[in-house]
């Protein structure tokens, strides 16, 4: 059950890892809480609260398990950044539309992610707090043109008003599924070569009844 969790047949479950990046006060915690529980101020959301969240989805008849990893925005915890986003299928980079600095940080992360993970990862750049549009310091045009230039999609959200969040995650999931399927097709073409190199002891792969339910990630 690799991180990609891809599988052409509809019986399979996709497991995706999504990392959440953004400076301390951009509201990424509120954003992800809003998505997973749809409750803005609820207490005792999960055992790990907003740091690690899981969500089960059903998209066009296919089951998707999302594991959302929050990362620390502080610079001093970035020495081991790469171990956070390795094997990620998607990344959500959040900035505050009233805070120019937070947008600059997003640009840094994009560079690092592309360097570490190449084009495999689906990037979402998210301008949060659109309820504070009157204090906007990052222009819509700038953010959107930048996002396009780095192959990312741009979204506008408001965690407070619960705007744009559902769309953001649904869109990201669909993109990750497409990427996983494309990868699967690519693997399928090269299957004849890889089959022989597969380790002999792993006969479990040959069992038709073995359809893993993807029960590896316990919901937090």
């Amino acid at each position: 059950m690799a991180a990609g969790g891809a599988g052409g047949n509809s019986g399979r479950t996709y497991s995706f890892k999504v990392v959440l990046l953004g400076e301390g006060c951009v509201g990424k915690t509120s954003l992800v809480l809003r998505y997973c529980e749809n409750k803005f101020n609820d207490k005792h959301i999960t055992t790990l609260q907003a740091s690690f969240l899981t969500k089960k989805l059903n998209i066009t008849g296919k089951r998707v398990n999302l594991a959302i990893w929050d990362t620390a925005g502080q610079e001093r915890f970035h020495a081991l950044g790469p171990i956070y986003y390795r094997d990620s299928n998607g990344a959500i980079l959040v900035y505050d539309i009233t805070d120019e600095d937070s947008f600059q940080k997003v640009k840094n992360w994009v560079k690092e992610l592309r360097k570490m993970l190449g084009n495999e990862i689906c990037l979402c750049i998210v301008g949060n707090k659109i309820d504070l549009d009157k204090d906007r310091h990052v222009s819509v045009e700038e953010a959107e043109s930048y996002s396009e230039s780095v192959g990312a999609k741009h979204y506008h959200t408001s965690a407070k008003l619960n705007k744009g969040i559902e769309e953001l995650f649904l869109d990201l999931c669909k993109r990750m599924m497409e990427t996983a399927q494309a990868e699967e097709r690519l693997k399928g073409n090269g299957a004849s070569q890889s089959a022989s190199s597969r380790r002999g002891v792993q006969i479990v792969d040959d069992e038709p009844q073995a359809t893993p339910a993807g029960g590896c990630c316990s919901s937090g």
């Binding site: 915690t29 790990l48 740091s51 502080q74 020495a79 081991l80 479990v204 073995a210 029960g215």
Partner: protein, 569 residues
């Protein structure tokens, strides 16, 4: 007239004996042959010529001497010659004979599964004992009866052996047929792949042997049925694995024969474990690999101690360095240490790889024998149980190696730990709202003490999976504590922020790691990183371990002052 009769009987007896002897020599194994020959020798022609000493076996002599008073009275009851063994067990059997019969009977109960030939030989021994008993009761004058008794004994022994031989042959044919059938079954299962790699061939053979073993033994079937009936019983799989391990310990130790589960390990099962390739191989690979690992670790330990004493600095930086500073060899020291470290890292990599391969093999053997375990959840359980057994004796040595490799990181951790031993959570960047303003207002002596206590439990386990669970629990305790502390602050105001995210979690985790005051945490986590299951990597376990690693890296860098606790983020 009587003499003529006796002569005829003698000739007949001789013929019978000849036939019996040639038959026995031709067909029976050495044990049976000698037993039967000795049985018939008591009635050899030389002895029958002297009727007075017919039974010269020691037992018979003993009977004669001890039996003198009773035998004349009893002979009258035994005029009718009964050939079946049970008929001979009269209530007046002499004690010696009775004893002998009993030992034969008790031998039978010890060995459960006898081959037909063995059974026949047992039966014949009984017959012979009966015959001797009866003979002993005859008065010297009853020579005719003696001969007739002897002949009927020989005839019966002969018949028994012939029947046994036929049964044995039939059984062998059946076994052979079964073997072929199982072979075909295994062929079918492995039919998908046209050309077989050596591994597949080995598996194929193993599978055939597993099938064969299961024909003879019920316990795998019982377990399988049990698992099928109770698919939701999560305790079954661990119990099965520990049962397999128990079988292993019994088969290798050979000591106790009873299982805690109440099953009796009969000697035949014990033998089978050694003759049959499949289970033996499984158990053996199990123990063998464990032994191999242990040996390699022992070698390693030895190697390390040699290195330590050979190189001037070894691993202790506290002592001995002063005198060495003026030593010319110091010039090379950096070089030596670098080489040593490189060798260590290579060694560690090889060992980690070996462990992964060994566990993979154990798991696939388990799944090969118990196909019903081949579901995602059962497989996880199976793997967890195997690992628990596997790592128990290894972990201490394994961590010793990781500590050697991560020595510098641990040292950095220790320096930070000492510098910050009295630090408040705010010193490592924990927001003020997430720890109590006055320490005396809480039950713990310092903030997040319960999380620190939880983290310390990590060192009490010897299985990576359990350690990982401990890390997860530590993070959960942190979240619960943080929630409580925040509530203290927001007693009167409406709660503003929602929940603890990574921005808050990592500083707290760093604080907890500092307060834990155990630098080997660095090595433990590095080892966990190597042995965490792929499936857990993106889940809660993976997240918690990654967070822990991140916090540890931050703590290691604390003493360098590179990252002032930027509290205002």
């Amino acid at each position: 007239m009587a003499a003529v009769e006796v002569g005829r009987m003698l000739r007949l007896a001789e013929q019978c004996l000849e036939r019996a002897k040639s038959f026995i020599e031709k067909n029976a194994g050495p044990n049976e042959a000698s037993a039967s020959v000795s049985a018939s020798s008591s009635g050899s022609p030389a002895q029958t010529a002297k009727p007075h000493q017919t039974a010269i076996s020691p037992v018979a002599i003993a009977e004669n001497t001890g039996d003198k008073s009773t035998s004349p009275k009893k002979t009258g009851h035994h005029k009718v010659l009964t050939d079946d063994g049970s008929g001979g067990l009269s209530p007046f059997l002499p004690p010696e004979v009775f004893k002998r019969l009993q030992t034969v009977a008790s031998q039978d109960t010890i060995k459960k599964e006898l081959t037909p030939i063995e059974q026949a030989s047992r039966l014949n021994q009984k017959l012979k004992a009966n015959y001797e008993a009866r003979l002993a009761r005859l008065t010297p004058g009853q020579a005719y009866q003696k001969t007739s008794l002897k002949l009927s004994l020989q005839r019966q022994m002969m018949e028994n052996l012939i029947i046994a031989k036929a049964r044995q042959d039939a059984l062998q044919r059946k076994m052979e047929e079964r073997r072929l059938r199982l072979q075909e079954e295994a062929n079918r299962r492995f039919a998908a792949s046209g050309t077989m790699t050596p591994e597949e061939q080995e598996q194929h053979m193993l599978y055939t042997n597993v099938l064969e073993y299961e024909q003879d033994h019920d316990w795998p079937k019982i377990w399988k049925a049990n698992i099928k009936e109770n698919p939701d019983d999560v305790t079954l799989v661990p119990r099965l694995v520990s049962y397999l391990k128990l079988t292993d310990s019994v088969s290798s130790g050979g000591g106790s024969q009873s299982f805690s589960s109440g099953l009796l390990l009969s000697p035949s099962l014990f033998d089978d474990l050694h003759t049959k390739y499949d289970y033996e191989d499984r158990e053996e690979s199990h123990t063998q690999e464990m032994l191999d690992q242990e040996n390699s670790f022992e070698d390693l330990e030895e190697f390390l101690t040699q290195l330590d004493s050979a190189s001037p600095h070894g691993c202790t930086d506290e002592a001995g360095s002063d005198s060495d500073i003026w030593d010319p060899s110091v010039l090379n020291e950096g070089n030596i240490q670098e080489l040593e470290m490189r060798a260590l890292k290579e060694h560690l990599k090889a060992i980690v790889k070996d462990i992964h391969i060994a566990i993979d093999q154990l798991l696939s053997l388990c799944l090969l024998s118990f196909e019903c375990l081949n579901t995602a959840s059962s497989k996880d359980l199976c793997l967890a149980s195997i690992e628990e057994v596997f790592f128990m004796p290894l972990w201490t040595a394994l961590v010793a190696l990781f500590r050697k490799v991560n020595r510098e990181r641990e040292q950095a951790f220790e320096i930070s730990m000492k510098l910050y031993q009295d630090a408040s959570p705010a010193d490592v960047g924990v927001p003020l709202k997430l720890f109590p303003p006055e320490p005396d207002r809480m039950q713990d002596s310092y903030p997040y003490e319960s999380a620190v206590q939880e983290l310390k439990l990590l060192f009490k386990d010897y299985c990576p999976q359990r350690k990982l669970e401990c890390v997860v629990r530590t993070l959960r305790v942190i979240c619960a504590c943080a929630e409580d502390y925040r509530c203290l602050h927001e007693e009167n105001s409406a709660p503003k922020t929602a929940a603890i995210g990574a921005d808050d979690l990592l500083p707290i985790l760093s604080f907890v790691a500092l307060r834990c005051q155990l630098p080997q945490l660095v090595s433990e986590c590095a080892a966990l990183e190597e042995f965490i299951h792929e499936g857990y990597l993106i889940g809660e376990e993976g997240y918690c371990l990654t967070s822990m690693q991140s916090a540890l890296a931050y703590v290691e860098s604390l003493h360098t002052g590179q990252h002032p606790a930027d509290m205002f983020i």
